[in-house]
């Protein structure tokens, strides 16, 4: 017996990479799957029904049930369509997994409005476009699982990804809100911030990584990759993300709601909520001088600048000695 026997799932972006691994495992665990993927390039251009069809073929060959959907999540009608297809085909929707995404990396000062819009449309609006129609049905049936895809590029920050990082961090926030909107109806909503070697991560050139680290800029990967990731260095296959997603989709996970999980290789972490870490308090209005004392000595003590100004940049304030705590 599978963990997802009889469940109906929509998995966006499941023609390749992490989404594909999820669709395959879901089917193996007994779920019927709408395999959504318009088969675009990493930058969102093009279109190819092949990848989704290929996954459906593989699932069927292994004795599972799946149908192809090639709508774009960036369209409101596209999101509605794929949810409708699940209902038309199998009478309901139990699980929605939002993996679809594109990249248009660029430093903020070079980023075109169109590059911002395209990434926000697919990732962030794409989550709204599927969650909205699914939530209506899940609320009515008092059951459902929504699993979103965030990223450490947003939850921790990364160079050259203002659009992608903002969208992915927004998805983490949306996950926490939707969890609260739907929890009382027996629906859970969680998110995964994955690490895996896919077509998408290959677009980041090694030279860019080297440049960042030589400039002392903390990238998401540097912060998140625990030592174990290098110890288990070979485990970056996208399939490794799928078991945690399948677990969150199962009945057993009925009370897990509103969390972001970092999943990479054999490592699964629950992320800190961005709650208050340290506090300074005064029963009145702060002055700038008081803040300078308290921020330096308490609030930001031993907290590093993730991208410090280069040595040759003349930074006003750099030469001001830290004020000793009175």
């Amino acid at each position: 017996m599978g963990a997802l026997d009889g469940k109906v799932a929509v998995v966006t972006g499941s023609g390749r990479g992490i989404g594909r691994g999820i669709a395959m495992l879901f089917a193996k665990e007994g779920a019927k799957v709408v395999v959504n993927d318009p088969g675009v390039n990493v930058d969102g251009s093009g279109g190819d029904a092949g990848p989704a069809q290929q996954v459906v073929n593989e699932i069927k060959a292994a004795g599972g049930q799946a149908v192809v959907n090639t709508d774009s999540v960036a369209e409101f009608a596209g999101g509605e369509n794929m949810v409708k297809q699940a209902v038309d085909q199998w009478g309901r929707i139990d699980i929605l997994v939002n993996v679809a995404g594109i990249l248009r990396d660029r430093m903020i000062f070079n980023m075109a409005k169109e590059e911002w819009d395209a990434v926000i449309a697919t990732h962030l609006k794409g989550h709204y476009n599927t969650i909205k129609p699914a939530s209506v049905l899940m609320r009515q049936q008092r059951y459902g699982r929504i699993i979103n895809f965030s990223s450490t590029s947003g939850t921790l920050g990364n160079t050259g990804q203002f659009n992608y990082g903002a969208a992915k961090s927004a998805i983490a926030g949306m996950t926490r809100v939707v969890a609260k909107d739907l929890g009382r109806y027996g629906v859970t909503c969680n998110a995964i911030a994955p690490g895996a070697a896919t077509r998408m991560t290959q677009t980041v050139p090694d030279s860019a990584r080297q440049l960042r680290s030589s400039a002392g800029i903390t990238g998401a990967a540097d912060t998140t990759a625990p030592a174990r990731q290098s110890a288990f260095g070979g485990l970056r296959e996208p399939e490794f993300v799928a078991p945690m997603v399948a677990y969150l989709a199962s009945d057993d996970a009925w009370n897990i709601n509103g969390w972001v999980f970092n999943v990479s290789g054999g490592s699964v972490s629950v992320a800190h909520h961005p709650t208050a870490m340290r506090t300074i308090f005064k029963p009145g209005l702060w002055t700038l001088d008081e803040l300078d004392d308290a921020v330096g000595a308490v609030l930001m003590k031993d907290i590093n600048n993730p991208a410090p100004p280069r040595e040759d940049v003349e930074v006003p304030g750099r030469d001001i000695p830290a004020r000793p705590l009175a």
Partner: protein
């Protein structure tokens, strides 16, 4: 001694009312020249009124400060570019942008219409891009600058009925962290404020909604309760931390989000991994079923648990008494 922001020039979005207004007033009092941006819309984004921004400019100039009115919307690329350009035209330079502007269209996700989603994301999140982009070009060239954006506990902690606003505000926090990494090496800092204050915007949440949430056991973004703090909910309490981040002293504070309410200033956790389970291979669903509740999530609560009388697959059946 020179004022800390003397000779510098700033754009404050949404500066006609509430917290934005207070940021503009204090920035000007500390010597900064300010583009006071506010299209004077209603909380839901409708309408238009040049009055609020003009009023703030009048106050600043009457007190001997420098300010100009801008009534563009941050929701368009041209609007964002315009207000940055206006700072350069009026004051000859640009040293900082503070993005406070925002609207609300609260609705539970299952009732949230596409336009309610789009409008809120456009003002808060795309509005952030619309000002940060042109500002970053100038700041990178100057090897100096400050970008401060307003996030919210609604997205950081999550608040029912605000998936559009919460997503946009959490997205801003992500943008803050990315911007910090793109611009830090050029002497620019990027930080965020997650404020709490009694303003026109918070007054729009009906008390009945708060009561409903509390009755249903839905956790919400914390409302700080001590009476002394209640008195400190006036919006001007948010301004000093913003202006401190603008000052030269804060040259090395970058990529952080600060909760500010009354006299309380907190540094928010980065969303780093908190607890980890690891295996030298691929997990099975069965293994995760054993370890996730008992280890990874031990002691952590569901923020909106299903009611006890809901027949829920997977839930142990013992709890029928309630």
């Amino acid at each position: 001694m020179a004022k800390p922001l003397e000779g510098r020039s700033y754009v404050v979005t949404g500066a006609g009312r509430g917290m934005g207004r207070e940021v503009a007033l204090l920035t000007a009092a500390l010597g900064g020249s300010v583009v006071v941006n506010d299209p004077g819309v209603n909380v839901d984004g409708s309408g238009h009124d040049t009055g609020p921004a003009a009023e703030v400019v009048k106050e600043i100039t009457a007190a001997g400060g420098k300010a100009v009115v801008n009534t563009d919307t941050v929701a368009t690329e041209a609007g964002g570019e315009n207000m940055i350009k206006q700072a350069v035209d009026a004051f000859g330079r640009l040293d900082g942008v503070i993005h406070v502007a925002g609207i609300l269209r609260d609705r539970m996700i299952f009732n949230l219409s596409e336009s309610e989603w789009d409008d809120v994301v456009a003002v808060h999140l795309t509005g952030y891009f619309n000002v940060a982009k042109p500002a970053s070009v100038i700041m990178r060239q100057n090897r100096y600058g400050r970008v401060i954006a307003f996030s919210s506990g609604s997205g950081l902690a999550g608040n029912a009925g605000q998936s559009n606003y919460g997503a946009a505000k959490a997205g801003i926090a992500g943008g803050i962290r990315c911007l910090a990494r793109d611009l830090g090496r050029y002497g620019v800092t990027s930080n965020g404020i997650s404020p709490a204050a009694a303003t026109r915007m918070t007054a729009s949440i009906p008390d009945s909604a708060r009561e409903l949430r509390a009755r249903a056991g839905i956790a919400q973004a914390p409302v700080r309760e001590a009476s002394i703090v209640q008195q400190l909910m006036a919006p001007h309490y948010v301004a000093p931390m913003v202006c401190y981040l603008l000052s030269d002293q804060a040259w090395n504070i970058n990529g952080k989000v600060f909760y500010v309410s009354g006299g309380s200033v907190s540094l928010a956790w980065d969303e780093t991994p908190d607890r980890t389970i690891a295996k030298g291979g691929m997990w099975t669903v069965d293994e995760l079923r054993g370890l996730v509740p008992s280890q990874l999530l031990a002691g952590l609560q569901n923020p909106a648990p299903p009611p006890a009388d809901l027949d829920l697959p997977g839930r142990p059946v013992a709890k029928k008494s309630a």
